[in-house]
């Protein structure tokens, strides 16, 4: 068994190596760019969304992208439409799209925020969130928070808090602590803080 596995791995690696050498045109399947272009109708040109419920995915961390797509494919996130779309793609295609969006510059739209809330959010962020969502939640391995569309963030937090989406490791502890610190408005304050950044 094990031997077969490693054998087929060898064969696969060999094939991959050969494929890498071939020009892109010979490769079967649409290019990462072609795949990613189809997302623009919902997520904006090159992933810079202008619609507040659709998250910006330009400049997104590619591994976070792939994780998200895989979770959607497995119906692991409170699904609306992405789960249906994600089922159409292979892991390899996820990766190619991930690289495409990681190569794009994120254009943020200004959002209207409550300055007082945002200020409190900034403090809460520094205290509870900054270590994972570094630099105020700039795009990174913990996703894109800074400048992200607030309705989208709202939905996401709703899903976490209602148990519709699994918490990332350690995040529940931190959010609980933030809520304990600042009451029920803590999440809202944080979202306003993120929305206030561009």
């Amino acid at each position: 068994m094990k031997r077969d596995d490693t054998m087929s791995k060898h064969v696969r690696n060999l094939l991959l190596a050969v494929l890498t050498l071939l020009p892109a045109a010979v490769m079967a399947g649409p290019s990462g760019q072609a795949l990613s272009f189809t997302c623009a109708g919902c997520h904006g040109t090159d992933g810079s969304s202008v619609g507040p419920s659709m998250p910006a995915i330009a400049g997104m961390d590619p591994e976070v992208f792939v994780d998200a797509m895989k979770d959607y494919r497995l119906d692991k996130r409170n699904p609306s439409i992405m789960n249906r779309i994600a089922k159409a793609y292979s892991d390899e295609q996820f990766k190619e799209m991930a690289w495409f969006f990681a190569s794009q510059r994120l254009h943020l739209q200004p959002q209207v925020t409550d300055a007082a809330l945002a200020k409190r959010g900034a403090e809460l962020h520094q205290k509870h969130c900054e270590k994972c969502h570094e630099e105020g939640g700039r795009p990174g391995d913990a996703g894109t928070l800074a400048g992200q569309w607030m309705p989208y963030l709202q939905y996401t937090m709703q899903d976490f808090l209602s148990g519709k989406r699994d918490w990332p490791r350690k995040m529940k502890r931190k959010v609980d602590a933030a809520i304990e610190d600042d009451g029920a408005d803590a999440v809202s304050a944080l979202i306003h803080y993120y929305g206030s950044q561009h």
Partner: protein, 432 residues
């Protein structure tokens, strides 16, 4: 744990590099700058124009559109419920001009595929290396007795291209007495925006629920099934009493005699197969075919324009590409998102052709939201690939589909907000 492997990275990086190279590709190498003439400034045409420039800004792109601005058909049903104004659906072409596209307000009247010239009503002649034709739909006026372009403009609007007729229909509904009856005649397949007639009924019902709660909306349908049917019925049951005696919406299928034969615009009486229906407001959505220029340029077989699905190049004339509703792009629906998606495939194919490269494998997506009522949105989505053996665009198996049945109120509500965000992004992707 995800590992972005090297191959994916290289492909990604190569894509970026290709863009970078193309941006600075000297015209000398390619000879004179390549010219693309795009006929039609709808989703297909505008998107194609923008993405051509995005993929290769050495290409000179001219967009010929008869109207000074674009009014989106999608979301225009919300005008009927009063949720939005027609103005909110209208956008100029300055965004495209900022991409370096020459936008010409004129009407294309002919295309010479040999000399590669597009001729306009205003007397313009536009030389092209590739021509993209995205004219949208035309109507088969002859299909319904008594229904003419003039009738549509004055008393029985089709309102199937957003514009004055949309506002006319809105005014008629507002003017309708309480307890009045709205008749909507849905078209046979294939037609633009398959869920549209049913969303229209929903949006009118949404208005009536608050302002004319005893009003009736009857959909006369020459089909026995329609897009997102289960979800519509779920929404109608929940919001408009569908299935009860007091249902605000009634759907009469082909089997029930829903196909109409003629209309009397004077009495607003519609003759259907089995019985006559008289309404206070009548909205006839006629059977459809490709837009006029497609016929003038000899791109049509039957009602629609056959194309090579890999490139959207017309199978009748080389160098001319037909996109969107006018093309025969089964199994994709005739929708805004589909046109947007096709336009990008087509733009990439044209750029590749100019560079002497084979077109890549195409990939398409369609997403479509419908707002059935307050806080009740539904959607359909599909990802498509090309079956090159049959030259058909086929959905990727085990993916796509409509919103789940009996979803939570939260999900339905979110889909309304997604619908509006979707709208902004589609508009932005084609025009900004």
């Amino acid at each position: 744990m995800t590992n972005i492997d090297r191959r994916a990275f290289i492909r990604g990086a190569a894509g970026i590099a290709a863009l970078g190279v193309s941006a600075g590709f000297p015209a000398l190498v390619l000879g004179a700058a390549r010219r693309v003439v795009v006929v039609g400034g709808g989703v297909g045409g505008a998107t194609a124009a923008k993405y051509l420039r995005k993929l290769d800004d050495t290409i000179s792109v001219t967009l010929i559109e008869r109207k000074p601005s674009y009014t989106s058909c999608f979301m225009s049903n919300e005008v009927l419920s009063g949720e939005r104004t027609l103005q909110s659906l209208t956008f100029g072409y300055d965004g495209l001009r900022r991409h370096g596209i020459e936008v010409v307000q004129d009407t294309a009247v002919g295309i010479d595929p040999l000399q590669k010239i597009v001729q306009t009503a205003g007397g313009g002649k536009f030389q092209y290396d590739a021509c993209v034709v995205s004219p949208g739909i035309g109507f088969k006026w002859e299909a319904i007795g008594g229904y003419t372009e003039e009738v549509a403009a004055t008393t029985v609007p089709h309102a199937w291209n957003a514009g004055p007729q949309t506002e006319l229909l809105r005014r008629q509904i507002e003017a309708m007495p309480e307890g009045g009856r709205v008749i909507i005649s849905a078209p046979p397949n294939p037609f633009k925006c398959p869920p549209g007639p049913y969303e229209r009924a929903s949006q009118i019902a949404m208005y009536c629920k608050h302002h004319k709660p005893r009003a009736k909306i009857i959909i006369l349908d020459p089909k026995d099934a329609f897009s997102k049917q289960g979800l519509y019925l779920e929404g109608w049951r929940k919001l408009y009493g569908y299935g009860t005696d007091n249902s605000m919406i009634e759907w009469i299928s082909a089997a029930g005699g829903g196909k109409i034969e003629e209309i009397d615009p004077e009495t607003l009486t519609v003759q259907a197969e089995i019985e006559e229906f008289q309404g206070d407001v009548v909205n006839i959505i006629p059977p459809q075919k490709a837009g006029a220029i497609a016929f003038a340029a000899d791109l049509v077989e039957g009602d629609w324009c056959p194309v090579d699905k890999r490139t959207f190049e017309s199978t009748r004339h080389k160098g001319i590409y037909v996109l969107g509703d006018a093309s025969s792009a089964a199994k994709m629906p005739k929708s805004a998102y589909a046109a947007n998606s096709q336009a990008k495939v087509c733009a990439a194919a044209i750029v590749n052709r100019f560079r002497g490269l084979e077109p890549g494998d195409p990939t398409f997506v369609n997403t479509c939201y419908s707002v059935v009522g307050e806080d009740f949105g539904i959607s359909v989505a599909a990802v498509y690939g090309l079956n090159s053996h049959t030259n058909t665009i086929e959905p990727i198996p085990n993916s796509g589909g409509v919103s789940p049945a009996n979803a939570s109120a939260e999900i339905r509500k979110r889909e309304v907000s997604y619908a509006h965000s979707w709208f902004k992004n589609v508009i932005s992707d084609m025009l900004e």
